[in-house]
């Protein structure tokens, strides 16, 4: 067993809005080992981004972690002081965002923004920081780094900006990189370039990556382990193979059925009925029960617990409990 780098235990994050408490994350737990790529997949409102923001402590003003622990190498970062948190962000754990257009400051040069993190977190002087910035740009495949350092974000294309964001995030060699929909705003050929780059850098630098995305294609090509989220809860977790080939939660199954793939080109897609749940109005039982074809009485009443459905594969769906009970019955009668 390699060491656990990050452990999230029973995380609850809520937003306190005028219309009431919105429970965006509802008891999420997972752990991340160093050098692994963990994928968090879900649709909008599933709480995947809020989970990531909770780890970085960059929630919007109304948001708050109300319960749970986030352990970084055994230390609960929720107890960190402001100064400790500053050290954590950027140096230990970095984040890149979906939209490279709005996450860079338009009034500063690329060099200025890259050097900011380096000057803040290391004891390099200005000259050394600049050299490091140029080195980082070369690492992420930006040509003519010296020239780019003097340019402003609007002079770069979307793919280049995302490369700059990655360079910035990795400048202080963090242990964890959180990527929040890093390629959603990019074209497919540029997306392929960026994903390839992230994989290469991960091998080279050995950091762990948390990949937050709604795109199952990205998950399949990048991740070792996958967490599927719905309505602020984890519904299934396991290796990429387990999730794609032996999915055991009705939501995951529905999700995989509903996307066009090479197998179902000639058939009708099977959509998930209904609309995503309203977080202000959560059902008592399983969050997915109102859209589930196989929902039972118990699904409406009680939140299912996570149970093992295979090696390294957990799902929280009453269907699995039912299946296991039936198997036990058969076993007993024999």
């Amino acid at each position: 067993m390699s060491e656990k780098l990050l452990e999230v235990k029973n995380l609850h994050t809520s937003f306190f809005t005028d219309s009431g408490e919105v429970k965006a994350v509802n008891g999420v737990s997972f752990s991340l080992e160093s050098g692994k790529i963990l994928g968090i997949v879900g649709e909008s409102g599933s709480g995947k981004s809020v989970t990531a923001y909770s780890i970085m402590q960059i929630l919007a003003g109304t948001g708050k972690v109300v319960e749970g622990e986030i352990l970084y190498k055994g230390e609960n970062i929720l107890n960190y002081s402001k100064q400790q948190m500053k050290n954590f962000r950027g140096k230990k754990c970095s984040i890149i965002f979906q939209d490279p257009m709005t996450s860079l400051n338009p009034t500063f040069t690329i060099g200025n923004q890259l050097m900011e993190a380096i000057l803040l977190h290391t004891d390099r002087n200005k000259e050394e920081a600049k050299a490091r910035a140029a080195e980082m740009l070369t690492l992420v495949g930006v040509n003519e780094p010296e020239k780019r350092l003097k340019q402003y974000p609007h002079e770069l294309s979307g793919g280049m900006r995302q490369r700059v964001m990655i360079a910035m995030a990795l400048a202080c060699e963090p242990d964890i990189l959180i990527a929040d929909e890093p390629t959603t705003a990019l074209d497919v050929t540029i997306q392929a370039q960026i994903l390839e780059l992230m994989k290469d850098l991960q091998k080279q630098l050995g950091m762990a990556i948390i990949m937050v995305t709604h795109d199952l294609g990205v998950i399949a090509s990048m991740c070792d382990e996958v967490i599927v989220m719905y309505g602020g809860r984890v519904c299934e977790r396991g290796t990429a193979d387990a999730i794609f080939y032996h999915s055991s939660h009705e939501y995951t199954k529905g999700l995989i059925r509903s996307i066009p793939s090479t197998q179902n080109m000639k058939q009708k897609l099977i959509p998930i009925a209904g609309t995503p749940i309203n977080l202000l109005n959560m059902p008592k039982g399983c969050a997915f029960c109102s859209r589930c074809d196989n929902a039972m009485k118990i699904c409406l009443e009680q939140i299912p617990e996570e149970i093992w459905v295979g090696e390294d594969h957990l799902a929280s769906c009453w269907m699995n409990v039912k299946k296991q009970m039936e198997q036990e019955k058969v076993g007993a009668s024999k």
Partner: protein, 321 residues
Amino acid sequence: MSETKNLVEVKDLKMHFPVKTGWNKTIPLKAVDGVSFDIKPGETLGLVGESGCGKTTVGRTLLHLYKPTSGEFWYNGELVTEKNMPHLRKEMQMVFQDPYSSLNPRMTVEDIIGEPLDVHKLYTSKGERRDKILSLMETVGLNAEHATRYAHEFSGGQRQRIGIARALAVNPKFIVCDEPVSALDVSIQAQVVNMFEELQEKLGVAYLFIAHDLLVVHHISDRIAVMYLGKIVEIADADELNEHPIHPYTTSLLSAVPIPDPNIARTRKRITLEGEIPSPLHSPSGCAFRTRCPYATERCAMECPTLEDRGNGHKVACFNK
């Protein structure tokens, strides 16, 4: 193959936007630069390409939302001009990408769907108008009680349904769908894709389906055209294009699509393109793709390849492949 008459025929369509580069100086931005294709009744032509390749401009130019620089657009044997466009709008409609900004927030669903009926005076009494609206809402899977609500009360998928009902109101034979599912959640996408397919079976409409998601386009389209910098580089039957792509751009585009299957993702070879799409303001001489093409030769810089039929209507514009 039976020869049916083409519903839509586009010949050498060009759309150049003037861009000011200095005082009293403009240069043309060649968003669409000589595009030709045809669509049969009840057929779906998928149009794919990266942002900035001009795919959206093609759709908008066809419906005269922009005035085309040159080229011809024949609809059902009739040359489309500015003069006959108003009455042809009854025949062709558009569904937009963003279901949030394409619906008027001050209008009720009833008025949004009813507006095309008003414009083309397609009813004789108020009751008939209401009946038509309600049956349209039923067609796209909305409840009658939604008629008096405003657009903001609906989710993205439902809004897209309102947009589709509005397009269907005039009983069109041809609909331009400009990225109709890219703003929707994955679980909702399939609902809307299925609806497009069902409507086509029921009403026999033809689609020009513009999107960047190649898997969705492959699923819905009969034929697919691939655009790069204002030109179509390859056009073929959907399965043929996916299984035997010829143009180097199509090949790399297809290999870049993340496939939601870990085994395929691990084993397949990626052809990663170097660099990025050049600005259409300064598009390269000759073949526009040559700056990123691994097979580029001197000839590619000198002349521009035209679409050539390689058999079974699989047309490719490339010298070397």
